[in-house]
Symmetry: C2
Subunit: 395 residues, 2 copies
């Protein structure tokens, strides 16, 4: 059974991470995604380390299941090819800096003229308008400017970057939601539209709770390490061999925790027996907790706390995630076939459908692997026309 977007055609001018992650989701969902790349060089993500032989693991991870078509957008004649391709496309996505597609003659207006039903999504660092529109954007610049770095890390220490590139991927996800909402709207109106999603706006949207707290109190939220702003224990503690998250701030949970840990006296001791008391005597409480928690391994703590119905979970390293039986059972790691590298492993999709499941089977394309195929099927070019494009260096 094909995925829910089977039959949907996507023209992707996405490069590096934000655009490609968005079209990866569309490909996972069953859409046919054609990735336009510069001849000879391609998406610069192809050069991102580390490599498996000559294949960038970075590129593979977010371009599996796509088709690659080479096209030199700066050459006379390339625009005509794009317009032909756009005629048959449902979605066009690009993540150049604002104005680049217009200068190539491929802005929303000419594309809409050739296909009024197309959904044209522009994903950029700062959006299509406003004073920062032309600023260069990287994931970390968006994380920094959007506020999340100021609330990530330990109090009194430098701000930390989120371990995954949420500056990019946040925008990818909002772009995907927007595209699919526009696709639904098109069923009624028959018309496409232009979508403008910014990495910075997306970070602000994700910071909604920190902003809400600031609006309500005027207090500026800061970083808290792994602590919860209001509750304890509701944080990661160091164990003998790692870290474990313990959530036991409610009175009944705290009692069960104390029993599990063999510290029944803490449930009655007035220094620790209530949340208020623990917060008031936080330094002393934390020192005692740290000493207690570091005496057992993470696995021992999980078994013990589970047995006493105390909410907990390990802080997994990536190797532990990759080898976790539950996560594997959920199909979160899948094998894909590469045209030259054989079978490779990529992360699966969290989107599970009962009737039209996603299937992730093919690896990332070689540069230009599908140029002829797509030009013949989508743009309906003849063999001779394709040969001429090849000779003139446009493809």
């Amino acid at each position: 059974m094909p995925g829910p977007l089977e039959g949907t055609k996507v023209l992707s001018f996405g490069r590096m991470l934000s655009g490609p992650y968005a079209t990866m989701l569309l490909a996972d969902l069953g859409a046919e995604v054609v990735k336009i790349e510069a001849p000879k060089i391609g998406d610069l993500a192809r050069f991102a380390s580390p490599h498996i032989d000559k294949l960038s693991s970075y590129f593979l991870s977010i371009n599996r299941g796509k088709k690659s078509l080479t096209l030199d957008l700066k050459r006379e004649g390339a625009k005509k090819v794009v317009l032909e391709l756009a005629k048959g496309a449902d979605i066009l996505l690009e993540n150049f800096r604002p104005g680049v597609m217009e200068r190539l003659g491929l802005g929303y207006d000419p594309i809409r003229e050739t296909n009024p039903r197309i959904i044209y999504a522009s994903l950029s660092g700062f959006g299509q308008d406003g004073p920062y529109a032309q600023r260069p954007a990287f994931d970390m610049i968006a994380q920094g400017m959007g506020g999340v770095m100021s609330i990530t890390g330990e109090p009194g220490r430098p701000p930390a970057r989120l371990g995954y590139s949420m500056g990019d991927i946040g925008a990818s996800l909002f772009t995907c939601v927007s595209i699919l909402a526009a696709l639904h709207e098109r069923e009624k109106s028959g018309q496409g539209q232009f979508i403008d999603v910014a990495m910075l706006d997306s970070q602000v949207a994700l910071c909604e709770n920190a902003c809400a707290r600031y609006f309500a109190t005027g207090e500026i939220p800061g970083p808290l390490g792994s602590r919860h702003p209001l509750f304890t224990p509701f944080q990661a503690f160091s164990t003998r061999d790692g870290y474990v998250v313990v959530v036991a701030q409610l009175p009944e949970d705290w009692k069960r925790f104390c029993k599990a840990a063999g510290k029944e006296e803490w449930a009655t001791n007035e220094k620790y027996n209530s949340l208020e008391a623990r917060l008031e005597n936080y330094d002393e409480y934390l020192a005692e907790m740290n000493a207690l928690m570091s005496a057992r391994t993470t696995e021992e703590w999980i078994a013990l706390l589970d047995a006493h119905q105390v909410m907990c979970g390990p802080v997994n390293r990536i190797d532990q995630v990759v080898n976790d039986p539950h996560i594997n059972g959920r199909g979160m790691f899948v094998d894909v076939e590469h045209s030259t590298q054989g079978t490779l492993k990529v992360v699966g999709t969290p989107m599970k459908f009962s009737r039209t499941p996603c299937s992730i089977e093919k690896a990332s394309p070689e540069l230009g692997e599908h140029t002829e195929e797509v030009l013949a099927s989508w743009a309906e070019l003849s063999e001779q026309e394709i040969e001429e494009l090849r000779e003139s260096g446009i493809i």
Copy 2:
């Protein structure tokens, strides 16, 4: 002009964050979202601090624009009301622990029987199946188990929680994408389906790059503070009054940075003149960089680096984000009207459409504010039937 999901009806059993954030996006997009809440108590998020008078800012932030209908799901007679409501709904979303909706008689099977076109999305901590399915999930437990905490924070220090609740919100976004893909598919098939999205799976999907690096090299990724794993400068530096992100790892960028900073000799000095050299002499280089960067304010650095076309950005605190002219110009903070609290500020949406823009106008509903209205219009109950439900305590 209404949003792209105008006319789409959503029945939301979402509580706290993950479910409500997903249905907030649907409401922002123009869908009519009816939030089912327990009589008298409602969503526990209504009690989450800080409050504006009696209104939880946490609740307001993610429930703006929704309708509230009270219904005691454990009472005889409630199931019939839900089935009547489901008849007219396009989407049902719930984020109870797996099995709860089934025990209430409201699992996918009875709902589908009454409305085969409904998209039924279950958002849970660990998914509907597998050994962890019944484990309790909180944002931080998903962040810990999913791997991101192990790559966030400073090397050699405890893992840090991401400043926003990506354990919840990651799943919200994947759920939204899944729902809208299924809605598109329904146009062709005429059939709805069941969607199963887990917080843990979603974290793994967001960790794709860390997993890809691990698959390629077998090396376990760790936290890097604000550093890039391969490049420098590509990190946040402390300034006289804050932090600034500087991205200047390429030879030409580094030269421009050295010139901007008045350190032309660094561009030729063999200890710093190449990326390899800077990485090799990292400690000495970093000490010199820190001394240099801390001599000016963030604003001074931004002006200077901008003038020399060096990529940079401030690490903004939340108050700076809220007062940023560009972010405000993009409409990322909007006023909403509350039925008793007047005008309140919430974070806007990053999803910008040319033809069917989102409009965020109404604040969060009072508990049960729309019970009668929705029962009369969606479920087509008579005044007398509604009165009977009220008397029996079901609503």
